[in-house]
């Protein structure tokens, strides 16, 4: 905890003013903390002196739960609940880890389906991130528009696996359902519908002067600080570091698609400010649409269940697999002792690491900017606390 200093200031007229720092709590029920996060803020007037994030309000013992399951497949519903805004990406990382442990090669159709789902989910997650960010700053309309688009993605998911939020869709060795008839056409329709919408959002929100004034040159995260804090995902790319696991450590079939990661360029302010982080997400949605369209055109026919193992019983050993989730590097470290259930699962969740940089970048700013900074990091508390 920061020490609260008290000092007496003499004014020019000779009277004395007591001067002290104040500690206020932002959260855990604050709407701008995007969940149950408590920020203990030390302020001097309106200037933020220090921020201490307190987490753990949503801790559900995911890692311990995973050890008490009877098999590896049962962990997937729990993994879903880590990052409930991007559950497909979470499933993807976990099943890749277990598959690597088992040494399974999944059919090509499954790989394509997984990539399509993961990228659609990334768009849905970024829509929430951008929409609620606008809401934090004070723009209500884009939030509603973005949720309308997200609804179409959720409809696609619901038609494929029956669930809208927590899918349990990706299985070890495959996926639970094949694509339903009409999915490919509907998804292509969505891609066509969504592309012009991104421009609309840019007009409505990204290049809005009020929005720029609130976010540009606020919460600047320089390259070196970002790297030393282990930041990943859109936040890292917003700082101008060209690093995306889908390209730099390709997993699944990402090497087959033509796309490039987006990085922050500091168009309206400094590289690594809130606007850059936000804008990287907006541009990433376009790249995701590119990937989805290519995947939809190339998807081969085939059996989706051929590689699903009857009994998941990996040899003793451990494995670490990292994937690029909507929020950054999602890693799963799985240890097997040769039995049917995991001996230990450790998740490296991107939101948790990204959250750690909040004190560093919000010192010296205004309280109102703290809202902008917390929103631009796009944390999901289910994943921070697990």
């Amino acid at each position: 905890m920061a020490e609260i200093s008290e000092e007496i200031i003499k004014t020019s007229t000779g009277t004395t003013l007591r001067h002290e720092e104040m500690v206020i709590n932002m959260g855990p029920q604050h709407p701008s903390t995007h969940g149950v996060l408590r920020l203990e803020v030390v302020v001097d007037g309106e200037i933020v002196i220090d921020v201490i994030p307190h987490i753990g309000y949503l801790h559900r013992c995911f890692e311990k739960h995973a050890e008490s399951m009877t098999n590896y497949q049962q962990v997937v519903p729990y993994v879903d609940r880590m990052d409930y805004c991007a559950a497909m990406n979470m499933d993807f990382g976990y099943v890749l880890a277990v598959e690597k442990l088992l040494g399974i090669q999944v059919p090509e159709r499954v790989e394509y389906i997984r990539v399509i789902m993961a990228e659609l989910q990334r768009i849905a997650s970024h829509l929430i991130a951008a929409g609620t960010y606008g809401l934090d700053i004070g723009a209500f309309t884009p939030f509603l528009y973005m949720f309308r688009e997200r609804e179409r993605i959720l409809d696609l998911f619901e038609m494929t696996c029956g669930a809208r939020l927590l899918y349990n869709y990706m299985w070890v060795g495959g996926v639970s359902h094949d694509l339903p008839p009409g999915f490919i056409d509907k998804a292509k329709d969505f891609c066509q519908y969504f592309r012009p919408k991104i421009k609309e959002y840019n007009d409505l929100l990204s290049y809005n002067e009020i929005f720029i004034k609130r976010t540009a040159n606020v919460g600047i995260l320089p390259k070196d600080v970002a790297i030393s804090y282990g930041i990943s995902g859109p936040v890292l790319r917003g700082s101008g570091v060209n690093f995306d696991l889908r390209r730099d450590d390709p997993y699944s079939i990402y090497h087959k698609f033509d796309w490039q990661p987006e990085i922050g360029k500091g168009e309206v302010g400094t590289v690594g400010d809130c606007w850059d982080r936000y804008m990287v997400r907006m541009r990433e949605m376009e790249q995701s649409i590119n990937i989805v369209e290519q995947a939809l055109n190339q998807i081969p026919e085939g059996n989706i269940a051929s590689a699903i193992p009857k009994r998941i019983r990996p040899n003793p050993g451990d494995v670490y697999v990292r994937t690029e989730s909507a929020r950054g590097e999602l890693g799963f470290y799985v240890i097997s002792d040769g039995s049917g259930k995991p001996y230990r699962i450790k998740a490296r969740s991107p939101s948790f690491v990204n959250l750690s940089v909040i004190p560093e970048i919000s010192r010296g700013g205004m309280i109102a900017d703290l809202v902008a900074i917390a929103g631009s990091l796009d944390i999901v508390l289910g994943e921070v606390d697990r």
Binding site: Q73, Y78, M159, C161, G162, D203, L204, Y207, N208, E209
Partner: protein, 195 residues
């Protein structure tokens, strides 16, 4: 400084006008909001909502209970007598167990669909019923057993009796075997084993 001030004002008004243009355009787009309680959305075929168990087809294999990650399914079975005929499932499997308890605590259920896949007779499935909230938590404990309480008790008593009989028979057989002189060939097994 003064110039920048006016430029800011101009830019702000301009971006508000752009925003207004876009929102005005949306006035002429058909509404997407579904007036929920009055209008209900059509759920896709694969919708995963309330669980339903068709007890006519349940063979009491406990596969769904084992697959559940949150332990919301509780099943209890009792062996049927050889003389009982429990009928067959719609897939043609012969039923051998009385299912005396099949409770699903739907309040615990996480709707993951994992119980549906292992079922050999496809009798447990997710339906498209999604409006089942209750004021009392106990009402969410669904009881699927078709047997009445009395039937359950008679079945259990019968099974216990049968077991007792079997045990008595066994004991009698064992006593007889003991009483009988030791049979020489019974101890002559080692030569059969390959070295």
């Amino acid at each position: 400084m003064m110039r920048k001030y006016f430029i800011d004002i101009y830019k702000t008004i301009w971006s508000i006008l752009i925003g207004m243009r876009i929102t005005f355009g949306h006035l002429f787009v058909p509404a997407v909001t579904i007036q929920y309680p009055d209008v209900k959305p059509k759920l896709p075929e694969r919708a995963r909502n309330r669980l339903y168990v068709n007890m006519d087809d349940c063979i009491g294999c406990l596969q769904c209970e084992m697959a559940c990650p949150v332990n919301c399914i509780e099943i209890e079975t009792v062996k049927s007598l050889p003389t009982d005929d429990l009928g067959t499932t719609s897939t043609g499997q012969k039923k051998k167990l009385w299912v005396t308890k099949f409770d699903i605590d739907i309040a615990k259920c996480c709707f993951c669909d994992l119980c549906v896949y292992p079922c050999p007779t496809e009798c447990i499935k997710m339906t498209d019923v999604y409006e089942f909230s209750e004021f009392d938590r106990n009402n969410l404990l669904y009881n699927f057993v078709t047997l009445t309480k009395q039937e359950v008790e008679t079945v259990k008593a019968k099974a216990a009796e049968f077991e007792k009989e079997q045990a008595a028979k066994k004991a009698a057989a064992a006593a007889q075997a003991k009483a009988a002189p030791v049979v020489a060939p019974a101890q002559q097994s080692p030569p059969a084993q390959p070295s």
